[in-house]
Every structure is written in C-alpha cells, then in structure tokens.
Chain length 353, copies 2
C-alpha cells in the first residue's frame, strides 16, 4: 500500500520532474458483508442498517436488493441474477478495492451458505492482504433457521445440523452421507435448498434416509418466505412432508426423536425433564450443576419424552434405546454408590446449560 | 376463558345475589421470547427492542438483564441466577398469564438452546391452549454461531452442526455419538458450552473424537464474549485448541476438511471451486444450474480444496477419499456420454445454491 504524501501540484509549462515521494494512494475502500436476515425491516439489525446507509455501492441478488430498496435511494446498485454469485462477489470486491464504500447484501446471515465465503475466495485469488483496500467488515444477521424456527415454535432447542440439499456445487454422495449421519445421531435437521423446479430427487432421498432412523410421526416444519408477504408455515411429520409443496424458498426443519408438537408449535426440549420435574424440583439422584446421572444400562429403558410427565420414570429409566444401542456406558456415568444420600449442593457455581 | 361483562357493583347492606353473568376476566397478557443476539446494541433487532420497550415485566438471567439495562428503566425486572431456568420460565409464564406484558430475554436466539423450548414445556404442564392468556410472541435473534463466525471470517459457509458439550441435562453418550457423526461426515462443528470450571473432560474427548476423522491442521476458532467488552477471538487448529483457555463463554468453531485460513480469517468454501474458476468461468464438463458432474469413481482422487487453484484438477478428480469411502456412486452422477459437447444452457432458471 502506498502512503499518501498530499495532493500533486498542478502542472504548468513544460512537464516538471515528477514530485518526490510516492503518488497519492487510491482511496481505501470498505467492503461490508451484510446479512439482512429474513428481509423484513423489523429483523434487520442497526449494524446492518448503518452499513447499508453508509454505503456508496450496494451489491446483491435482485430479490435481496428489493427487500432493502427503501434504504438505497441515491446509491449505486449492482444487482445480479441468481447464477451470478462469483460475478457479484468480484464486482463488490473490485469496487471496494478501488475506493468505494461497498455493501454486499445476503439474506439471513452472510456467513451461512452466503456470500462471505465466496468473497474471501475472490480476495485470495486477487492476492489481497489484510491492510490492503478494501477493509472488510462482517455483519452478522438472523439465519433462515432462526427466522423459520421462530415462526413454528422452538425446533432448535437442542443439537442441530444445517444441510444444503443443493448438489450444484457439492457432490451428492457428500450430502447423502451428511444426512445419514445427522439422522443416525438424532440431530434436529435443517434442510436448506431442499428442492427447485429441476431438483426434486434430493428431498425425496433425504426423507427416506431420515425415515430409516426416525419415526414417521417425527414432527417436521416447512416454512416458506419467513416474515415476507407470501409467508407460509406448515407443521407436518416425516411421513407426510412430501405431500407438501417444497421449493427453493422453503426451509425444512425435521425434529429429533425428542421433538414434539404442542398446540401447533414444534418444540425440541433441552432436556430439563431428565433432571427436574415440571415444577422445577430436582429428581431423585440428580444434582444441579453436575453431569446427568444415568442408571444401570441393564434396566428397562424409557423414552426421554416420558421424563416430563409428573409421574415420570426415575433417572434409572432415562436411557433411550435408539441413542444407546451401540454405545457402552462408561463407568463414569454410573451413579456413585450412596450418592443419593449425599446432600445436594446448591452452592456450587452453576454453569450455562 | 370467562368473557368480561363489566365491573362488579359495590356492595352495601346485606350481600345481594351475585350479579348475573360471569365475573370480569383477567387481562390477556403477552409473553415475548426475545433473543438479544450477542448483547451489543448494534446487533439487537428493532423487533426485539420494541418488545422490550413495550414490556411491563422483563425476565432474564442476570448477565442478559445487564446487557439491556438501558432499555428497562421503570419496568419490573425479574432476574435470576443461572441454575434457575425453570423458575425463570415459570415466573415469566405466570406473570404473563396473569395479564402482564412480559419479555423473557435470552442471549443469541431464544430458540437455539435457549429458553423458548422450556417455556413451551412449562405451558404444556400448565395446560395452556392457544387463545389462552398469555399470547405468545417469538422474536428471533442472532445466534452465537453467527456472532462468533462474523468475528473470524466465514466458518459456516457450508453444512454445519451445533452441539452442546454440556451433559448436565443430556446423557454424555448421546453427545459423544453426535460428535462422532458430525466429525465422520465432515460437518463444520460449532461447540456450545464447551467447558466450565467443573467440566473439562468433554472438550478433551470432543477434540480426540474429531481428530480421529480430521487432520490436526484443521482450522479451529475460539471466540469468547463476541461483541462484548472482554471479546477475544483466536484462530488455531485441531492439534492446538486445547492449549487455549476454553470456558463457559467460549464458542468453538471447528472447520471441515475444506475450511482454510486466509489472512487470519477462517473460511469454509461453499464449493464454487468445483464448478467455476476463480474468475467465474465454468469448468469443462460442468453446467451451471445442474448437479455437479463427478468423474468415474475409479479415477484418482484429489482433495476438494485443490479445486480452487488455477491449475485445479479436472472434475474427474474432484472426489474426496474420505467422503466416498463407503458410498457407491449412483449411475445418475456419472457424466452423460457426450454431454461435454452439448451446449451449456444459460437460459435455464437458476436456483439458489
């Protein structure tokens, strides 16, 4: 980067020797990678709005540009079609490198399947270094999983995976392996890009794969255009999800074995029911702030969802068959002899669960 | 729910017969479950701010209450310690059911390992029905994965899992199985609750499990207190992550086999390099808007990360060993005879990748 040494004096008469010192540097531009969340004004952060407000150039896919059109009057707008991600990333980088304040908008969070990764690849290809123009700013946004989740309940209350079913850029076997793994390990599964006009096979295969590991009554939410005009959310189950229209704008949320539907909401419990009664009392043998105590693996199992009922089984029966079928319970997980008689310490420093 | 019929007249003299009709109904309250993201004002959405502004009662864990203290002057605040999630959820529900406008704040997104799921469990226990008091509002927020990701680059550029290492409420074998599955299927892995003063074994086991499936040079980001005063972000790798301080406030982001570090940023590519050159040209044999074309499985494999180099291997060598070791390539994925001579159609409706 060339340091600036002030303006070049105007020329008059025959050309003088070039002024001493380096030529003025081009302006140092900025490139902000901004996630606008679901696109509704209510769910765009102040940081995202500020970046868009300060921008001279706004780059984005046509639909996302439309979502922020009220913010971009007077700015230069570079809008592109959907296949033109690389062109879009390059245009944003080039304009910012040349000195403009550029914002590249993505829906959701720019870092999640968004344009951020591609921008880094373009910068790497151009030999960009930290300190060069443009300066980078990454502004987080609300992901599609969170937006869609908030419309149907609390599906993401426990461990979850995000998998894109688009095999335009990723080998299908890689995707299939991920679906299999997520299903086998009982993750809540969020499926991005589940289908399109041309691609319908992948959601069928995904459903079949997950179905091999999970009951057909496992709740599934299908959410389209969250927080936008054509928003549509449906709660169905694994056996019936293919009966519904699933397209490019749909996010599919498949519950885990623990998820349940309550009053039309899809909920994945965090596991409080394993340790506490619904009233908040600690169950026999359990200790707040300590690892969940599991019983002897030889005792009859009960499904974890039973644990929330007032007459729930004791901790000894809190083992779910499906989860432990191929796991040997380590000695450390067996209750200590006599521990149920030890005073439960409430003064221990609690931790975030 | 009892319909309201107006105020009860004051009594005088001997008690009169009860007035005809039902007694006045209690006010219909609202319970808003609000994610405040990382807690910095810049990253709290207008919807979240509006809900907090309208609230009469704000309930939350002490730390999160502090993050919004500038918004809650004059409001009743119910703050609790960390072990008291059930109490907090019940307090919020009870006050809202009784007619107050209540906000229950969570950090990040309230639906992701947050309080939302627990609130539904409490409502279910109380026999709540849609239409009863309180009305529910779920307001999405920026997850810790997104906040932390934005501080280190674009780690979530492709399929990822979120796994909580806290076994306070979840049997460790369930968690261990999920780590194994995520590692084997090459997900980017976000670890929540990686460790605490008392719990240090789980992150050690997680690292060992992932290490069995992924190179020791796999990039890993450790981010603490994103967008807060004591923010600290480190990029290291799988072999060295245990050298760093990891506690309750740390989010661990483990890259996939495709993730790379560039100028101090951790990036997980979306896969554009499989189909396009860095300049955006379509590679031989590939077609925009169509499934990625893979070569004959019998040809030598190359790692996918080679694909982004200017002299990258042809699509025929885009198969990664680790991913296809146990997958038979379906006939549909083999290139059609003669397809490389067919015109590439640019007019097809593109889809979101």
């Amino acid at each position: 980067m060339i340091a600036s040494s002030g303006p070049v004096p105007p020329r008059s008469g025959p050309p003088a020797d070039p002024p001493a010192g380096p030529a003025p540097a081009p302006a140092h531009g900025t490139l902000s990678l901004v996630g606008i969340g679901p696109g509704a004004g209510d769910h765009v952060t102040p940081a995202a709005l500020a970046a868009i407000g300060e921008a001279e150039v706004v780059v984005g896919y046509t639909t996302y540009i439309k979502l922020v059109r009220h913010l971009i009057a007077g700015k230069e707008v570079i809008r592109t079609g959907m296949t033109e991600e690389i062109g879009r990333a390059r245009a944003a980088v080039e304009r910012a490198r040349a000195g403009s304040k550029v914002v590249l908008v993505s829906s959701g969070d720019a870092g999640v399947y968004g344009m951020a990764g591609l921008v880094f690849e373009v910068l790497r290809d151009l030999g960009w270094r930290r300190g060069d123009s443009p300066a980078l700013r990454l502004i987080p946004g609300i992901t599609a999983l969170s937006s869609c989740g908030s419309l149907v309940g609390a599906p993401l209350g426990h461990d979850f995976c995000a998998i894109s079913l688009s095999d335009l850029l990723t080998p299908w076997p890689v995707i299939a392996r991920r679906i299999e793994a997520a299903a086998a390990a009982d993750f809540v599964i969020g499926l991005y890009n589940p289908a399109s006009g041309r691609r319908t096979r992948q959601i069928v295969e995904a459903q079949a794969t997950i179905r091999r590991h999970r009951d057909g009554t496992t709740p599934v939410a299908l959410v389209k255009s969250a927080y936008r005009k054509l928003q549509h959310a449906v709660i169905t189950d694994l056996d019936h999800l293919l009966d519904y229209e699933i397209g490019m704008l749909t996010t599919v949320l498949v519950g885990s074995s623990q998820s349940f539907v309550f009053e039309g909401y899809l909920v994945t419990p965090r596991g409080y029911g394993h340790k506490y009664t619904a009233a908040g009392q600690v169950k026999d043998g359990q200790r707040p702030g300590h690892s969940l105590v599991l019983g002897d693996a030889a005792l009859p199992h009960a499904t974890l969802s039973d644990a929330m009922l007032p007459d729930a089984a004791s901790p000894d029966t809190l083992l779910a068959d499906a989860m432990l079928a191929d796991v040997t319970l380590p000695d450390a997980m067996l209750p200590d002899a006599g521990s149920s008689d030890a005073p439960l310490s409430e003064s221990a420093v609690p931790e975030v669960v």
